[in-house]
Symmetry: D2
Subunit: 413 residues, 4 copies
């Protein structure tokens, strides 16, 4: 870039780790002025130590907004309403945080007058996409620097050793040990682990890899029973029947479910998934609280929602999940699916009783002021207004097509 | 019916229980000749005692075909290939057996020259539909007697007491105790419990209700590790790494997984579901072996199948599951979805390592000769042929639509 | 029914034709008091003559509400927004009127205190279902009399001759001639013809069958050009460029398009369709105005709506169309799909220029204040902000999956 | 590229037009040896004149394979089976030819030992994607040169004038006149027109733009009537009832339908569509023969296929259409959808009578040896085995859900 008096300003998503520290120094070398930015989305970090690091390595300032409340209310709650799961298993813990982080990064960029944002995501992953689609959607003229996709960067740092060498030269501390040969991403909702020894999908993950959850085998021998209350498809109260704990604030409630799930070993998965970029990748994820919520929400939703509405809605759910996974949170289609899904949740209310035990979440009971469940109607002992002969007509009419088809084929057994 | 010399012949699906015993006697009273029929689909029964009962209460003969092998190979295996689940939770254990039972019942009817078949299913449930759609599809001119939908029957037996009285008069033994105030359906794949005390969806199911599985809390403290090998989407070998047990025969393999799942408390659910008839109903289901297979098959499928093929296939899976739930196994649409799903499974092969522990099934590792997983491609340390700058173009093009949308709305943050 | 002083009151959907006249007389014979009801949904009828007939044959009174405006605004407009078509061809002209007719019939029933409603639809068609699902949904305890499904009625009137004889005995005028050996249903949106000579799907429909449209071969030799303006997905103005006619009132606008379409032979189809009841049936339909609107709305919708939003929306459209066809307008799922579709239309605005000529509707041009069309972006002569090298990356990343698949199969040409 | 003795060999898709002629010369300048290649997919061209041009401008040789038969049988027929339409209107005429052209180009590249292929498609369109995805899928290590995406090319030729100047310098003839200010793509199935004056979506296309079809207003005043016979979803015979012409050979049959459609003005559309790249673009398309086939195939398909099978199949059709539009013909998912769709066509057989008149295609009648249409069943005069009281039960059971919903809402009118 041009060597002018006025340096180009870049907001760098800075984690405090080796990669983004090297990127910070490198950006400075390239002549940029760097504002470091780290979103607090509930990950377990020493934020002030990171701030000190950023400033030490040359950032003009370090901005660390607390986004936890927004994360729960604007991102996790819609995912709960959508029973959001990608490829049948992944609860989208990382994917849901990215648009929030991008939104705030753009806000910061506008505030500080930066025309660039930068991040340290690799060139093979989903996160680069999620960050950048969010950034472009919210600020179409923003320029993105993704060093791991810039030849001048990745050709210079072709292996980890090059990066270590650069770090050493610039006083950037190296990771203390090689005891954790994998990479991870953490937020309030989940921690994910991938790469390194995990790249071989037939290599079992180390027992001690997880941070948010205990191994189910080490969980307590006594189950905990919770009553989770929903309104409009989101949890509004949790009561622990074992010790009468009661929480209602959204952020506290979610953290409490994490705690319950965590100590009972809930929400660990080992999966291979299909990245947007087209490759398969293997990851270990732990998502304790959201796993409890997915189970409970599914139960209260089926209980209170009309069958056919739910079929339409579940199709929207699938689309929502894929949109989120692929980084399209701030797209017109994701706005639309969120809007429709939210509408479907108006009567999703009631209480679900769940047992949490050694990795499992078991539904025990449910009640609702607006269930379509009618115990008199379903009862085998009560006829009520239901006329069983109607069922005969129903079956005959449903069979009409099948009988015609059979006749055409002369295909009786 | 007319009092002719030649009695009308009916094949009655006879379970040996109170209801079908009363129906047997009642059909005789109405002037029918009754051939009793009971499909052995792996339920835990004293079949000879039932045979004796049937003959005692007036059946001309009792036919008890062993359908276990067909059940596994022709019905459970396609469900495994389809990851078949209804409304996110129910593995279709009853629904899958019904078409098989109906097919054999029609075969028996043709062999004995019966123009009627009869069953004791209630007029509010799914099973009447599944039986009868199967029957009509395979034998369009068959006549079905469903006493619980015939006014002359249900008006006579308006409560359980009427039935008890009738049983007493006809020497039909009453259920010994009232200790199990619910109804159940059992086969090799699952046992379901509903009605009675379970009708209140907020009333917790009794602890001792289940037959195939122990309560997870009473399961062993040590996990079992299995390697399940798949070919064309169905399991062909299970090796228990704990004790080196190895099974390959389909029927044995499935029973073995039931045993593993059962002793480890796998596959219990408490759900409210939407019947085809339109009402919501609450059931407790246990499906140990199939739950293990669903988990393992999902894993090997994602591992070996192209992402986009799987999206198409999963949509077919949903349709298949609903077809099965609603009794349309022998429909042209279900033939079509089965055919397509089967095609998708040609390369679904490999070994999945699973841990089974106190109700949970955990994937540990997987390998396959035909996976699309490419560890070199995904590696963060190897560039290989992958050019990271391509990802930048990919993102920019994907962002094009979003930027236009944003511009139109002048909607930057 | 019981012979009490207080007669049961029934609201009969009365068309003035042979069938419902006989039903009126027959209901009186059965002891009912009958209020006749005929919805004016724009069909071409002598309503006062029908009123006189109803009273003559014993109706206590005859109620003829004018529902034309509601039909256009509450039923046709949502169908336009949904591009509603059943099985690729049928624009749902009859299906859309039925719920409106049912809603008003229930309103009348409540006003006059009737606990019964009756209609003359056959027992094999869709309309019985549409009427009755509407009625039950809006008034769960209403009782429906459908004489063509009552054995006491259909056994008495086994052929048309029995009905003719009964009509003669009761002074009901017979259809003057047999020149139109088919049945028809008419409203403002369309006329349908079926049965009789049309039952043979290989028998060509008579040339003179249609009422709303001329045969394209007899249409004017000079096209008419219209500019149709949309707001929120519904037409708000039509200007005929040929003669400068301009209409804006919804009802007038729709009638005007019918006139244009009608004189130019637009909207005639000959199809076989699948009834909800499961059988295939052949019909001739003419739907002039709505066919023009479908063409124009599709054009402005694609022009103004984001591609991916439209994919989600089109899936909802399909579901909406099937819901309407099957009579589920007043269902929770149809409320939900209508709500979502309506949301999608917020920016569907602009003007479409169409040419109407001898059966064809041709789009000539379109403009919109909120199109996502960007002529600079798409131009082959302007580079603009678009960087063509991005497309290379986009393609490479999209190819990644395909190349892996090919490698796995070693499947080069 | 390196200046070695052994020049790199490139196969260039060469149309004979200005752009690819300049590209040919430019590639030579860059040091490549060029083999020119032009697929004969039925476009109206003087192939020998193009061959002469290619050799004159420096191609080592010119290969012009005749792919017409393959185009019809392997690409158009599957599209007919799939009723393939993109965004409700575009019959995919260009999109279907691209994978065939790419497949043959790769075959040529392998035969001549080229490690490069090149094409002249723009960097903003779909065709670059279709060519290259096809190429990479079939030959993962092929290298693609797309000059309009290479900075060294597009920076040199920034406007048409630069290209004209280069052409003049190199003896490349300029387009004779500017009378056709748009670009076009032509093959046997369709001709498309876009860019230039067409870029303004509100500017009406010139009357004389089309090549395959007459303006409907200039079409004959007398309709032509055809009987089109299908087997397994593809046409096997066409009889023109007007003049008794009969064709059965696939290629001849398709060309004959083009001729009929062409002279009657069938298959012209003016649309805005969404490119894969994300932008909206406006095009004029004419697709005479395939439009007739789409109409006729839809009719015979609904006539012969079970309703529910067709619902599943239509969903696959949509996916197929998008796959083709986006260039994924040689993808695992498109192989899968084609396979499933083909299966669905096994009984799609029979004869459809269509009238073709001034732009319109009208179905008159149809017959089939394997229709599920049962005129006795549907007849209003014949009861047959159908019991109308069954419909009452069918309706009541379908209403159950609606009545419960209404009760919950206490929402009667």
């Amino acid at each position: 870039m041009a060597d002018t008096d006025m340096k180009d300003l870049v907001v760098l998503a800075y984690s405090g780790g080796l990669d983004t520290s090297c990127i910070l120094v490198w950006l400075k070398e390239q002549g940029y002025e760097v504002v470091a930015y780290l979103a607090n989305v509930g990950q377990d970090e020493d934020f002030e130590a990171i701030r000190a690091k950023a400033l030490k390595f040359g950032a003009t300032k370090m901005i660390i907004p607390d986004l936890k409340k927004e994360f729960v209310e604007e991102f996790i709650w819609p995912a709960v309403q959508a029973n959001a799961v990608y490829e049948d298993r992944y609860l989208l813990g990382t994917a849901l945080a990215r648009p929030l982080i991008a939104r705030e990064m753009i806000k910061v960029a506008k505030e500080v007058g930066a025309s660039y944002v930068a991040h340290g995501a690799t060139g093979k992953g989903n996160d680069q996409i999620r960050f950048e689609l969010g950034a472009y959607a919210l600020h179409p003229t923003i320029k993105v620097l993704s060093p791991w996709r810039l030849p001048e960067f990745y050709n210079r740092f072709q292996g980890r050793d090059d990066l270590f060498e650069y770090a050493r030269m610039n006083g950037i501390p190296l990771p203390v040990t090689k005891s954790k040969p994998w990479s991870m991403d953490a937020n309030m909702m989940h921690v994910s682990y991938e790469s390194g020894v995990l790249e071989d999908p037939n290599h079992q993950a180390p027992d001690d890899i997880c941070q948010m959850t205990v191994n189910p085998e080490k969980a307590p021998d006594v189950p905990e029973v919770l009553v989770i209350e929903f309104e409009k498809g989101v949890p509004v109260k949790v009561i622990n029947k074992t010790d009468s704990t009661e929480v209602t604030d959204p952020l506290e409630l979610f953290l409490y479910l994490n705690q319950i799930g965590g100590r009972n070993g809930v929400g660990r998965i080992d999966i291979v998934e299909n990245r947007f970029i087209g490759m398969k990748s293997r990851g270990i994820y732990e998502t304790p609280g959201a796993t409890i919520l997915l189970t409970a929400h599914t139960d209260i939703e089926v209980f209170t929602m009309d069958r056919e509405v739910r079929k339409v809605k579940r199709s929207l759910d699938s689309q929502f999940s894929e949109q989120v996974y692929r980084g399209f949170w701030f797209s017109p289609e994701c706005e639309f699916t969120r809007f429709c899904i939210k509408k479907s949740q108006e009567s999703v209310e009631g209480k679900v009783t769940v047992k949490v035990y050694k990795g499992g979440v078991y539904i025990l009971a449910r009640e609702s002021p607006s269930s379509l469940y009618n115990d008199e109607l379903v009862s085998m002992n009560v006829q009520g207004e239901y006329n069983p002969t109607d069922a005969g007509g129903f079956i005959k009419i449903n069979a009409l097509r099948l009988r015609e088809y059979c006749r055409l084929r002369e295909n009786s057994v």
